[in-house]
């Protein structure tokens, strides 16, 4: 090969660096470095044994790729990129809740958590039942794992049913009860009176929920929680998810998550029942379910900006532990806390966009870009575990937001087929018969898999769009000209009759 091979690997993407072969190794490629990346690349470099080139390389790379282990900060804090849009202003919780029609008679915005005292992993601003006082909230917090109380995520614009998220109740082995928690859920149920029951979706398999009692957790049993219906969604925990990624062909898990989210969305939309979603802590599986259900229910989240807000709200502000799950700048690649939860969510979104190719404003590149910068540490967006830490570390001041990059060049991330439809509920088919392996993401580094040619339907459509705009312009010109005098027959090479062959309709 005479062309130079250029590898573009952000240091943040590196998961582990290993030395291959020792000083006595023989053979051309026996001595060198192996770099495993979080985006599924596996790079091997053969080095010369002379000098200390490998040692230097290894040390420098380790130092730079894992700054956290040397009390350094990740690259995002050094990044001085400038964009003409500020991505940090994309998500304003008050604005987003106002879009949803909140506050209203039944729901209020509370600042009880403004110093993160009620719950350190929740955002500062929360939406809770109007009927529940701040004291009620504090008492409920005591009975919910990590104080993650049930709060509103989304409200249906017409039937006013809501999606509420939280963590598991601390029932424990003895089957403890908490009147305040029970009353609180009943208040949530009462905000919408179309159905007599409140639906609770526990994302876990029921066996796990039962097992969790041993560690102090549990679920809402119907003898304690009257007027509720509890369903288990059988989605496994982060450890199973992590293992599933190792054998990529296994796309059973997106299927389960999608199935769960469809159930939540259907319950809210056609079942007209409010829904409470939780798993154990309410920051992994819960985030997947609520955000996907919201994507199905609310067409706003299918626009570029809407999707950014969705990620910002349901994942970043509600404390999905990005730092732990991804391990930004951290050497400990075998950390049991790491798990591709967010990747799985994006995979589900991609599956949906494949099934509904006109429903999303963004394209595949948008999703891949988000995933690339989930690891890259170039932007501050996915750093740290929760909002309180981000504020403490001054992330919005000291780093650039990923949305600055995307929103300053939106055209690149747009799906030309996008057709805005308000209030259309999208139900993907969660059948394996329809779920596909995301080739362009999972195996894009494999040289055997060719980079996809641009989709010919899309290419053609874009051509037609340009042609239409051109014709519209001409027509306007003609109309202007017509009002004064009759137009001359065209002589320019771009006359419409000569453009005819471009458009071949067979109808």
């Amino acid at each position: 090969m005479d062309s130079t091979l250029i590898l573009d690997v952000p240091l943040g993407v590196i998961s582990r660096i290993e030395k291959m072969g020792g000083a006595t190794s023989r053979g051309e490629n026996a001595y060198g470095l192996e770099i495993t990346c979080k985006d599924m690349r596996n790079l091997r470099f053969a080095l010369k044994q002379e000098g200390h080139s490998r040692r230097d390389m290894f040390e420098t790379l380790t130092k730079l790729a894992f700054p956290l282990n040397n009390n350094q900060k990740v690259f995002a804090f050094a990044n001085e990129e400038k964009f003409n849009v500020d991505g940090w202003t994309v998500y304003d919780p008050v604005e987003e809740y106002r879009r949803q029609g909140l506050p209203n008679h039944h729901w209020r915005i509370t600042f009880i958590n403004k110093n993160y005292e009620l719950c350190d992993t929740y955002p500062a601003l929360l939406v809770v039942p109007y009927q529940a006082s701040d004291d009620d909230l504090r008492r409920v917090a005591a009975f919910r794992s990590r104080n993650r109380i049930p709060v509103l995520s989304w409200i249906h614009p017409e039937n006013k049913t809501v999606i509420v998220r939280c963590s598991q109740p601390l029932v424990g082995m003895s089957g403890k009860r908490n009147k305040d928690d029970e009353k609180y859920l009943d208040v949530i149920r009462e905000t919408n009176r179309q159905v007599s029951k409140l639906t609770i979706y526990d994302a876990r398999p029921s066996v796990n929920a039962v097992a969790n009692k041993a560690t102090g957790g549990g679920y809402e049993s119907d003898d304690a929680y009257h007027n509720t219906e509890l369903f288990f969604l059988d989605i496994h925990n982060i450890h199973v998810m992590r293992e599933s990624l190792k054998k990529v062909k296994d796309i059973v898990y997106p299927n389960l998550v999608l199935t769960g989210a469809i159930q939540v969305a259907d319950r809210v939309s056609s079942g007209k029942s409010s829904v409470v979603v939780h798993c154990s802590d309410g920051w992994d599986r819960t985030a997947q379910l609520t955000s996907l259900a919201m994507l199905m229910l609310d067409s706003y989240y299918r626009s570029i900006e809407g999707f950014e807000i969705l990620v910002q709200k349901e994942w970043i502000s509600f404390g999905h532990k990005f730092a732990s799950r991804i391990g930004h700048g951290d050497k400990n690649h075998a950390d049991a806390d790491r798990s591709p939860i967010f990747l799985q969510f994006i995979d589900c979104v991609w599956q949906m966009s494949k099934q509904f190719p006109t429903a999303f404003e963004f394209n595949e590149r948008f999703l891949i870009t988000i995933l690339d910068h989930l690891y890259s540490c170039r932007f501050g967006t996915f750093l740290y575990n929760c909002e309180s830490t981000r504020i403490k570390e001054d992330v919005p001041e000291k780093t650039v937001s990923l949305w600055s990059l995307i929103n300053s060049n939106k055209e690149k991330f747009k799906n030309p087929f996008y057709t805005k439809e308000i209030n259309r509920v999208l139900y993907p088919v969660a059948s394996m018969r329809h779920l596909e392996l995301w080739v362009n993401y999972y195996i894009r580094w494999n040289p055997r898999i060719k980079q996809q040619q641009p989709n010919p339907v899309e290419q053609r459509y874009v051509e037609l769009l340009a042609l239409r705009d051109e014709y519209l312009r001409r027509l306007e010109e003609l109309q202007l000209a017509n009002s004064t005098r009759l137009p001359e027959p065209p002589t320019s090479p771009s006359s419409p009759s000569q453009m005819m062959p471009h458009v071949q309709t067979h109808f």
């Binding site: 259907d266 806390d337 190719p357 088919v429």
Partner: protein, 753 residues
Amino acid sequence: QLAPRQPSLFACSVSPKDSQEDLFWSPSGEQLLCEASTVLKCVQEDSGQRGIYGKLVCTDFKIAFLGDDEAALNSDETQFKNKVIGENDITLPCVDQIYGVFDEKKKALCGQLKKYPEKLIIHCKDLRVFHFCLRYTKEEEVKRIVSGIIHHTQTPKLLKRLFLFSYATAAQNSTATDPKSHTVMFDTLKDWCWELERTRGHTKYKVVSVNEGYTVCERLPAYFVVPNPLSEEDVPRFQGHGIPIWCWSCHNGCALLKMSALPKEQDDGVLQIQKSFLDGIYRTIHRPPYEIVKTEDLSSNFLSLQEIQTAYSKFKQLFLIVMSVENNLMSFLFLLLSDNSTEFWDTDIKWFSLLESSSWLDIIRRCLKKAIEVTECLEAQHMNILLLGNIFKSQKETASDLCCLLSSLVQVMLDPHYRTRVGFQSLIQKEWIMGGHCFLDRCNHLRQSDKEEVPVFLLFLDCVWQLVHQHPPAFEFTETYLTVLSDSLYIPIFSTFFFNSPHQKYMNMGRESQDAQNQSLNLLTVWDWSVQFAPKAQMLFTNPLYVEKPKLDKGQQKGTHCKHQRQLSLPLTQSKSSPKRGFFREETDHLIKNLLGKRISKLINSSDELQDNFREFYDSWHSKPPDYHGLLLPHIEGPEIRVWAQRYLRWIPEAQILGGGQVATMNKLLEMMEEVQSLQEKIDERYHSQQGLQTEAASMLRSSSARLSSLFPFALLQRHSSKPVLPISGWKALGDEEDLAKQEDEFVDLGDV
């Protein structure tokens, strides 16, 4: 009570005058065999099953269900309607398996029955599944309809008993539109000459008519093409065996040929004669350095019919989704069941492993790979390719089937003409119909031997679908066209797929013509699509992405032609260095050994050299943007070979994506095309101050109201509400991850409580 049926669907058909049957529509010559009333057809709806009462009839053409509630049946607004077969019609050759339900147990039905089932389940070859509940039907009628249906669909029959003949006799004085206007039928000398000229093969090959009247060989068509130097007297020497028969010529002058191996002989003297005969023949196509031939022996180390059959029978089971058998049809018209789609979701969990274990996709991959190999030899190595096999099919012979498959696949990849609809139809005429593919046996139309039933033609269509799917702008036709074509295999009014060879057709037509006062039978060809579909529905066969090749002017054409001639007259080009020549001399021997039936090595296919050539050819083609009017190669890596969803999933409501699927983008594209076109007209109007031509641009896609589903245009089993379908069975089989599953995400800190 029955409302009058719709009037005749055939322009030519005569409604039977018998008063007894005047409520019943039929094509010409169709006869009612038996019927049963108060039959309940079970259909699956959103949340359960529903029953529709009606009459189940069996004629010599089809099994049909006539719903009592006529309005409900006709209210269906599907514009993509088949004029010959309705939603509730099953032509007799389309019936695959029949099952009866006895005391909630499902049994395959065949032969004489002692006991009659309470429910009849019919699996069709187009993958529809019908459920008819007979619980409320009179016992006498049950007996008659069940035994009638079994007799007429499951027992062997004679060729002459096919509906094809009664239809043709009855429809004598019909005025069918001329189907030959476009598709080349290859039943005349002229057609072959035309094809030779089109491919510029006429300089080296000639049409022979020695087989007129099928006197030399019953397996060969009346006219075929052989190398120029071959003398016509050689053809009958071994009844057409050992003769290289031309399929197609490449732009570089190389040809694709096929040959039937000589019968195996023990006697040394005969062997000698065979050898010298073959040597002579061989020299007509192998004259280095100008002409080099490479043989592809399809009878060994490639697919076997058995493999194809096994794979497909496993594969199709994945789509024959059966409603729950253990239901209780208690209520009269509406019954709701919760477990209706259990089977769909049960198989869904195991989907990938089931798919893999069927190995149907792998068979497709192997066919495509072999076709690329052949293509590479023709295109890049400038070699003639001789497909070797017993192209005159004898019992259990695979090679003839695979010759058709491979030669037509290669031609689709190399020749853009075959990617147009008319071209593709001509190709099927040339390679499959005239090439003598045994449609009658392979489709098991006569129910004479299940062993012979192998979906070779369907495999070909599936391979072509892969190409259509991967390179949409390269084909003038759509996947809908392919799907409909695959359905047409089982409609016994078209003669196209109901004979084993042109000779068989000729013989059966001939006799008939004597009986019927020298009037030859008027057999329809499937290429006359107007018989099945209205012009509007036929629009869905045309791919809006396809752009015709801009025609070169004469000067340019000549230029390329001259250059091409010059190339041929050069002695050895660089690419053919001496070691290769050595290789081919060995191969001469190899070929002869093969032809004599002594297959000694797998040398050709396992050769590393060829493997490398293949990879290089394949990779270099895929690294460039495709020329849709030139050579076209498929991707054959794992995820690139897919399930032909439209054909296989179309009857399964659970698989339907409402308002989604590829059709959504296609719809947008068509809308935009119309808009651009109307703008164009407006502009033209202004310039030329005349009325713009009102082109009929109304696309079916647009007129069919709000939202289409991914199963369009085959969404007969529409789900009417927008409720999501949800899996109902658990996903608990997680085996090796059990330990992990038990772990907690994070331990709850009890101290906080």
